[in-house]
């Protein structure tokens, strides 16, 4: 049952990825503006242009180009970036860790903030505390990450300049890292001086990404908790003398968390999508920032590669959440 579900999901995932590949390929081939002409210095002859077009395979039909590209992708060859003249996959893997770190830190912040306010709101249900949490989460949800980023830049970059508003790490620092996961590696190596510097750069973009998600978690989890808190077994726990906080943490939370979990999965992909503009806003050297440069430079192979990697990330997260849901949900587990 589980295996069957997994295989069906895997198949849909592949179809989705193929669809993404087709869409992005079609979209950028209709683009006016010749990337080859942009690469060459003025005064290049027609023969030069033709030679370069052949080199990048742009002289073939669009269907041929697609299958040449796709067969490369399947073998792990995403082509060569036109603007940076490097292997696309290498470029993407170089930048992806920065984006993943940012997204994961933001996710952790959102879960902690959303979870705490949900538990607090459920415990203090019907009071001014709950009303306050509702208003705060309503505002956090309605204002998108781009605007939160700007608000944070103004507050903690200009008004009270305690955090850095651009870059990923201070440029003068020596980085001993072997991976591109600077933040996680600095933690593992206990180089807390570097961790602090990385955090000072990462905190504001992460908070900007986390706030809308925290609000969603807070609202949904609080709702589920309030429903569960009226059930018999929770009432029984209360009769046994557990405090309201204990009742929530020990009894209610594990049963109320399931709907939130499913939602967090989908919302996490939105958060990753948000990194594109938030990285730009904070000049954070991640995949999204590189993607915008690639679009501006009309770097077709690089755009294709980045979009496909994002899409892969999205479908993998959805698959993981779906599997986790199936494992945790008793009705599906035994069904």
């Amino acid at each position: 049952m589980l295996l069957q579900r997994f295989l069906i999901r895997l198949l849909t995932m592949l179809i989705t990825l193929f669809g993404v590949a087709v869409v992005v390929f079609v979209v950028i081939r209709v683009a006016p503006g010749d990337p080859i002409a942009m690469m060459l210095p003025p005064g290049a002859t027609d023969a030069d242009i033709a030679r370069l077009r052949a080199l990048y395979g742009l002289d073939k039909t669009i269907v041929q180009q697609f299958f040449i590209w796709l067969s490369g992708v399947v073998r792990g060859d995403f082509g060569t970036s036109i603007s940076l003249r490097q292997d696309v996959l290498g470029l993407v893997f170089n930048r992806l860790p920065a984006t993943l770190e940012l997204a994961i830190v933001a996710l952790v912040m959102a879960v902690l903030l959303g979870g705490t306010t949900a538990i607090l709101g459920a415990r203090e249900r019907g009071t001014a505390v709950e009303a306050g949490i509702d208003i705060a989460s309503g505002a956090a949800l309605s204002i998108p990450d781009f605007l939160w980023g700007l608000v944070l830049i103004l507050l903690f970059g200009v008004l009270v300049p305690i955090f850095d508003i651009s870059g990923r790490v201070s440029p003068q620092l020596d980085l001993p890292f072997v991976t591109q996961f600077y933040f996680f590696e600095s933690l593992l190596r206990l180089r807390l001086d570097l961790t602090w510097d990385l955090l000072k750069h990462m905190l504001m973009p992460a908070v900007a990404l986390a706030l809308p998600l925290a609000a969603i978690i807070s609202q949904l989890l609080k709702q589920s908790l309030k429903e569960v808190l009226d059930l018999d077994y929770v009432v029984l726990a209360r009769v046994k003398g557990f405090s309201e906080t204990q009742v929530i943490l020990r009894e209610a939370l594990k049963n109320a968390a399931l709907p939130t979990l499913t939602l967090v999965g989908v919302q996490f992909t939105f958060l990753i999508g948000g990194t594109v503009i938030v990285e730009r806003l904070f000049s954070y050297e991640g995949l999204g920032n590189m993607a915008i440069d690639a679009v501006i430079n009309r770097d077709l192979p690089l755009i294709q590669g980045i979009v496909l990697v994002f899409a892969l990330l999205f479908v993998l997260i959805n698959l993981a959440v779906d599997m986790m849901y199936a494992l945790l949900n008793p009705r599906l587990r035994h069904g």
Binding site: T12, I15, T16, L17, G19, V20, V23, V24, V27, I28, V30, A31, P32, A139, S142, I143, P144, F146, L147, L150, V151, I153, L154, G157, V158, I165, T269, I272, G273, G274, T275, V276, I277, R280, L281, G288, A291, I292, V295, I296, R298, I303, I306, V307, F310, A311, F314, V315
Partner: protein
């Protein structure tokens, strides 16, 4: 819905504030040439980076100060509102028409139509939306119609997913079965029976989508990919403000407040409309 009921839900005052702000901003945008105190494009290096009116060094007539080229910020915000509202209305309506139609078909007819439409939605959901928007505008060429088209191409799925689910729920209801027994055709039932019942959701989504469209336009002008570079947009003012943030904070603060108020108002409006239409809440 009587007044007491509305205020018990806390809808009415917020709705008034939201509606008031949107009306004010919309009227200012429509009558921009009449209400803007200065020419939004006029540069004057003698007047560069003037602070807003309550600070020392402010000039009368330049209420919110000027940017690094000496252009009046308030006038630029008022004229920028024109682009924002045109994009909000046009893009949201286009996304709504495409998405609601496909959602209605998928939800009501089910079967193959549903499978194909849902698969396309899955593909769309696998794109990072901001990157997709930037890519589309780069491909379509900058300009107002490209921005509107790009937002519609990306955001129709928001309508499609919600309306599909609602139409699916409606089509299982007894009244749809009764209409079928009474001899109505499938398309007739879809348009006459199912559609009116999903209209509240469509209207609420439409209001939310207008707020989203305003943000996407701001993001596109922020990365310098929206309309032509001359006309002021809220996003392009923000981009300037981000650059001169340490010299002239007001160039970032005022467009940011404008955007936040507008987005909050659209979402409040959406929520309130939904509550007003929803028979369960009413």
């Amino acid at each position: 819905m009587d007044k007491g009921h509305a205020s018990r839900h806390g809808v009415s005052p917020r709705l008034w504030l939201a509606g008031g702000w949107l009306l004010l901003a919309l009227l200012a945008a429509i009558f921009a040439p009449l209400v803007a105190p200065q020419d939004p494009l006029a540069q004057d290096l003698m007047l560069e980076r003037l602070p807003p009116f309550w600070l020392d060094g402010a000039e009368p007539g330049y209420w919110l100060g000027t940017d690094s080229l000496g252009r009046d910020l308030l006038s630029r915000l008022i004229f920028g509102g024109r682009i924002a509202f045109i994009v909000a209305f046009a893009a949201a309506i286009a996304a709504c028409l495409v998405g609601s139609t496909l959602g209605l078909i998928a939800g009501y007819f089910g079967g193959w139509a549903d499978r194909i439409i849902s698969r396309v939605v899955d593909v769309w959901m696998a794109f990072p939306p901001v990157l997709f928007a930037i890519l589309l505008v780069a491909v379509l060429g900058t300009g107002l119609s490209s921005v509107i088209l790009a937002i519609a191409i990306i955001d129709w799925t928001r309508f499609c997913r919600v309306i599909r689910a609602e139409a699916m729920g409606q089509s299982r209801m007894d009244y749809v079965e009764n209409a079928r027994i009474a001899g109505y055709g499938r398309i007739g039932i879809m348009l006459r029976e199912v559609l009116p019942n999903v209209v509240p959701s469509i209207v609420a989504l439409l209001s939310l989508e207008m707020g989203i469209a305003v943000i996407v336009e701001a993001i596109l002008s922020f990365v310098n990919l929206s309309i032509s570079t001359d006309d002021p947009t809220w996003g392009s003012i923000i981009a300037e403000g981000r650059l001169s943030i340490h010299q002239a904070w007001w160039v970032l603060v005022f467009p940011l407040i404008t955007l936040i108020l507008t987005v909050l108002s659209f979402s409040q409006f959406g929520e309130a409309l939904k509550a007003r239409f929803d028979p369960v809440l009413r």
